[in-house]
């Protein structure tokens, strides 16, 4: 058993070597942060990912590493990457817990670390809130892990305690009614960390759920909660970030619907489109492109967001989950209105718009790649609906 996991052990040792390299080379005047960042990204790619979800996570992290500007942030992101990679392949409760803590703690520390300038107290407050809530919830999960171990003597995931552990997982995903931390956190975190927070943990948790997590009750209640709160809660929000935090809750509800109807292919597809949309959303400097991105999130054709949602609804219809489907369609309709408000605000672009777009100038390749992907992906996605 030890020799099977020697590959992952190698990842940790590689991370330690990277730390040494970074520390030694920052003393040397000829090596700049860009070089270290390139070595981190190359290390990520050289650890050969074996499955599609691994490759997706690797590519996502490589892209996300580009927007961080300090050495410690890169290290925490790499450790979180190792935790997520383990988690996607774990089938044991202990490894799931350790990897969950690795990823959560790195995000918490990054929230506090990246505070700069005027928003220091906001970031520290957000980091503290997130730390306390997720530590308490992880403690609860650990209690039910040990209860499951006491009852069955095994650390595989069977049994009735899975409900409580599922609550913990849904908390980390940001599902209503446990969503308040994500609304607070989205508003007070720097943009690069927001990019990371809204994409990578969700990918790893959903992959773990689809691969190894078995439970025999439905998450319909959480789907209804998330979609209702996500669609209705965004109406009173004055800030753009909290509006998109509620739209994220809505999207997570939709992905839960995909998991509930066991349509994991639709889950991954919508998750991929959602991740590209989020990368685009928080990187933009052009207001009209932002409006188009909001169109894609709203699920209007011809952008790719429509096809992500349409697949999920199509699969829900084919397994005859009609009540959930009706609720999901209703909530998507409700959420359309605030997207249209965002589109109207940003397309006509009046002078007194309160949003600030201080994006980094080296994001243009990423932005154009994501925009192209969102606009032209429907060509590849539209096939099942035409035939």
């Amino acid at each position: 058993m030890f020799w099977n996991s020697i590959v992952e052990l190698d990842l940790c040792i590689g991370l330690l070597l990277l730390i040494l390299y970074g520390l030694l080379s920052l003393r040397n005047g000829h090596v700049s942060l860009g070089h270290i960042r390139f070595v981190c990204q190359a290390w990520l790619v050289l650890i050969t990912p074996l499955e599609v979800q691994d490759i997706a996570l690797c590519v996502l992290t490589v892209v996300l590493l580009q927007s961080f500007h300090s050495f410690e942030a890169l290290l925490f992101l790499l450790l979180a990457y190792i935790g997520q990679l383990y988690m996607m392949h774990s089938c044991n409760l202990v490894s799931f817990y350790v990897c969950l803590e690795a990823q959560t703690l790195c995000v918490v520390v990054l929230c506090g670390l990246l505070a700069r300038g005027a928003s220091t107290s906001f970031s520290v407050e957000a980091a503290l809130k997130f730390l306390l809530l997720s530590a308490m919830v992880s403690g609860m999960a650990l209690f039910w892990f040990s209860a499951m171990y006491q009852r069955t003597g095994s650390l595989d995931m069977v049994g009735q305690e899975t409900f409580w552990i599922l609550l913990v997982m849904l908390f980390k995903l940001g599902v209503a009614p446990m969503h308040m931390w994500s609304v607070d956190l989205y508003g007070s975190v720097p943009k690069s960390l927001l990019l990371y927070l809204s994409t990578a943990p969700k990918l790893s948790l959903f992959t773990f759920w689809a691969a190894s997590w078995h439970h025999d009750f439905s998450v319909g209640v959480f789907i209804l909660f998330s979609m209702l709160i996500g669609s209705i809660g965004a109406y009173g929000q004055p800030a753009l970030r909290s509006l998109f935090a509620y739209s994220t809750i809505n999207e997570i509800g939709l992905m839960l619907l995909a998991v509930e109807t066991a349509g994991f292919h639709t889950l991954y597809q919508h998750l991929g489109i959602y991740i590209i949309t989020q990368l685009l959303l928080w990187n933009l400097t052009d207001k009209r492109l932002f409006a188009l991105c909001a169109v894609s999130l709203a699920g209007l054709p011809p952008f790719a967001g429509f096809f992500g949602k349409a697949w999920i609804f199509w699969h829900a219809m084919s397994v005859q989950a009609f009540s959930l489907l009706l609720a999901a369609l209703f909530c998507t309709l409700l959420s359309l209105v605030y997207y249209l408000r965002v589109i109207r605000l940003f397309w006509t672009a009046p002078v007194h718009t309160a949003a600030s777009f201080a994006g980094a100038p080296n994001q243009t390749t990423l932005t154009s790649a994501c925009a192209v992907a969102l606009a032209f992906a429907p060509v590849m996605l539209v096939k099942p609906f035409i035939i």
Binding site: F2, I6, Y86, V94, L105, G112, S121, Q150, T152
Partner: protein, 162 residues
């Protein structure tokens, strides 16, 4: 069996008492008694290593940490406001509801526990930590390092910038 059960009952009572006092110092004292009691229960169940480690870590490090906090912030002169606002009473109600409605893990039939049957508990712990879950141990050590430095990172910095 009566002795173990009564020790566990004492644990529960001390746990309630930790939350239901007005003074923080008495709360700390009850928690120290709770830690010693829990290590006593563990020793009765046959987990000698865990009992000693509990005593060392909880009483030796954590209780001393809380004691330092209480000393340095000069808390004994104040009282916990949560008690007088009624939150502690609400907590006791939660305990009572937990007892009435039995929201506890069920004691079903035991499964097969992978360990060495005749070995001591510390041998089993060593096998688990250093053989079966060795890679997770190293990953966990990195996570604990992150937690250690994170405490510095989250604390608000008084200088400008950063």
């Amino acid at each position: 069996m009566f002795f173990e059960n009564s020790a566990i009952l004492l644990c529960a009572l001390l746990g309630i008492a930790v939350g239901y006092t007005k003074s923080p110092f008495m709360s700390l004292m009850y928690s120290v008694m709770l830690f010693i009691n829990s290590s006593f229960v563990l020793m009765m169940l046959g987990f000698e290593f865990l009992a000693l480690v509990n005593l060392l870590v909880y009483v030796g490090a954590l209780a001393v940490l809380f004691l330092f906090v209480i000393m340095l912030l000069e808390i004994p002169a104040t009282e916990l406001r949560a008690y007088s606002r009624g939150w502690s009473t609400l907590g006791v109600f939660v305990f009572i509801i937990n007892g009435v409605f039995q929201i506890t893990p069920s004691m079903g039939p035991r499964g097969i526990i992978n360990g060495l049957p005749g070995a001591e508990s510390i041998t089993n712990l060593g096998h688990a930590l250093y053989l079966y879950f060795a890679d997770l141990l190293i990953l966990n050590s990195l996570v604990l390092t992150v937690a250690l430095f994170g405490a510095f990172a989250i604390a608000p910095v008084r200088t400008t910038g950063r």
